[in-house]
Symmetry: C2
Amino acid sequence: MTDIKRLDSSSSDFQQQLDRLLDWEGVSNEAVNNTVREVLQAVKSRGDAALVEYTNRFDRMSVGSMAELEISQDRLTAALVNISVAEREGLELAAERVRAYHEHQKVASWSYTEDDGTLLGQQVTPLDRAGLYVPGGKAAYPSSVLMNAIPAKVAGVDELIMVVPTPDGEVNELVLAAAAIAGVDRAFALGGAQAVAGLAYGTETVPQVDKIVGPGNIYVATAKGMVFGTVGIDMIAGPSEILVICDGKTDPDWIAMDLFSQAEHDEDAQSILLCPDQAYLDSVAASIDKLLPTMERKEIIEKSIADRGALIKVADLDEAVTITNHIAPEHLELSVDDPQSMAKQIKHAGAIFMGRYTAEALGDYCAGPNHVLPTSRTARFSSPLGVYDFQKRSSLIMFSADGASHLGKTASTLARGEGLTAHARSAEYRIKD
Amino acid sequence: MTDIKRLDSSSSDFQQQLDRLLDWEGVSNEAVNNTVREVLQAVKSRGDAALVEYTNRFDRMSVGSMAELEISQDRLTAALVNISVAEREGLELAAERVRAYHEHQKVASWSYTEDDGTLLGQQVTPLDRAGLYVPGGKAAYPSSVLMNAIPAKVAGVDELIMVVPTPDGEVNELVLAAAAIAGVDRAFALGGAQAVAGLAYGTETVPQVDKIVGPGNIYVATAKGMVFGTVGIDMIAGPSEILVICDGKTDPDWIAMDLFSQAEHDEDAQSILLCPDQAYLDSVAASIDKLLPTMERKEIIEKSIADRGALIKVADLDEAVTITNHIAPEHLELSVDDPQSMAKQIKHAGAIFMGRYTAEALGDYCAGPNHVLPTSRTARFSSPLGVYDFQKRSSLIMFSADGASHLGKTASTLARGEGLTAHARSAEYRIKD
């Protein structure tokens, strides 16, 4: 019997039980902080030489210069024939769908002119250069290359630099192929805090970027946190989560497998099912027991399900929505008859998968929307990675002589109220009389 | 003679001189970090009791309960009659213009349906609750209340909670009046790290918010950095900056005063003028010398101008644009004949003030655009505070049975390529045949 928690929203201490289940504290580790600080400082002051040293040490390489760590465009393109045709076609279809979806997110400049000729607006521009961190080794996901790179290219970012560690010289052909398809401009065989430092500060060989995106281990996440401000960063992600609301009419095997598809990521991943039908919850539990032994990653799934999973009996679907809005899940499946009207009631979720056919796994790869989503209740205030993360805005303000004269009086009054008389006098110079 | 630096872009070491001028390292202080960590922990675990203790200690108050620290709606409204009519009308006009401008920033939900019935899109929703930090004492700026509160209200945030310290019981009537005008829902006489902790974790009296915005001292900035993740935060601002590009045809007194209007904020503020005309730079230097003794905040201005200001001779206006794009200034004034075509060449700036009449001071108070802008070169990757900071998006995905069957094959191929077989099987369940 799989040891998944069973909660009931009618228990008097349900809210405490739920909050205990959701509780997640990112680990902060003083030893990691010190190592990362040292690596950042070394790369900042010694550039390429430090990158080569750390890469030889941490990734067990033996290169003599940064030039040997650049992965050429030809090498990226070569990967396209080193993978299977089905894989190549899969990546190309996924890229095409991701690109088409993200085109809808582009923000355009706007402005308007007032009666006295005053022009106000915002000018929207892309970042000049973005850095994409891609993990190496086992957790190397080509889908993440597409999901991080394509929004940047759609935004119009001039140059996209990818870093991916190649521990012991091992490269992942699918990752290189995805980079070729996504249009990565330059790539380096770098990883860890040193790769983040290279992108943030620039070296003789690695160009300085304006923003760094992409997932990584605790060293990478810590380094991204420390260089934030010098460059922009995307969110620092916690463990992945899925929340399923089901009315009890979907094949319980499907739902069990959907829960597994989150749980297999990581022992800390969280899979939760909300349903008003106790008998259905029992059948999903039975499906879990039946299917678990057949799974390749069963040890990870079992621990994730036991430690952080839950089957929750709710009073009705309305209550399920209320609980969901408290949880603000990364992935939300609405496995119900009318998912569209339920979705309208959802206030906080990274992505909403509507209907019994919409497995979250489709969204992870090729539906089109981004799979980089806010975790750990941060969907309360943040959004999926998107084109808007690679664009920024400048306010536009142009006053006519009349407009400046008229509004200058208000600015002067308010500036003097704040004791800022240079502000006041600067506005007053433009007042006619 | 005011001691403002004179740079020339034709010097061989110009780039190094410029980078030295721009260099700014935010201070990180271990003693501050420890104090803030302790305050956050105390408020998280002891709630109202800790808020009352810290407020009595740090703000020299003597209240018995959090209830005494709530500032009622009646008290906010009363402030509207405690200020002058000109001030009230100024705040109301500013609020109206800021609201009208920010209405243009609202992002709407969107979706599209593919041929096989697959629906894709994004649902845009406001944050439930936002917290607004307002500094107390001398640096209390009512204009900042408007600039932070109004975008949240335009976004549709349900509840806006303001915190403002009242050291020794001293309240700022203009700040309370601005809160009444902006529609702040609840207000508390709290400041420092304890106020940030109250908003981030919630207490018996202070509601937990989803995002905290607004400026503050080093304790507030440090606390915001530490609670990031539990709640969202706006940017952590550095010293204010202005960059003026002038063709040499604007009254030099006007430009000198525009430079002062940044410099008077703070000794670390930065004011830079780029101009191709050496004689004009000399006249601005003369205006600085002439006007400085007449300024109320002359000590601050003098130090800021001497330590961080510069008059820079450039080859021509095109070079001025190139240098500006490197600097990515917070405020940019284009005091030239055709500012609109020059603005199109600007890639990175917080706000662009076009034309000789558009004093930056107008933008600070009442033009409409936000005065919370990216500093310290972060305009390379970030934007003015806006309605979009109080909205977030959820991806929408709904597959038809046919769409799920068709794309399930691609998802399965890609998932198996990544070794994630629960993902693959979850997609495969939805493949017909």
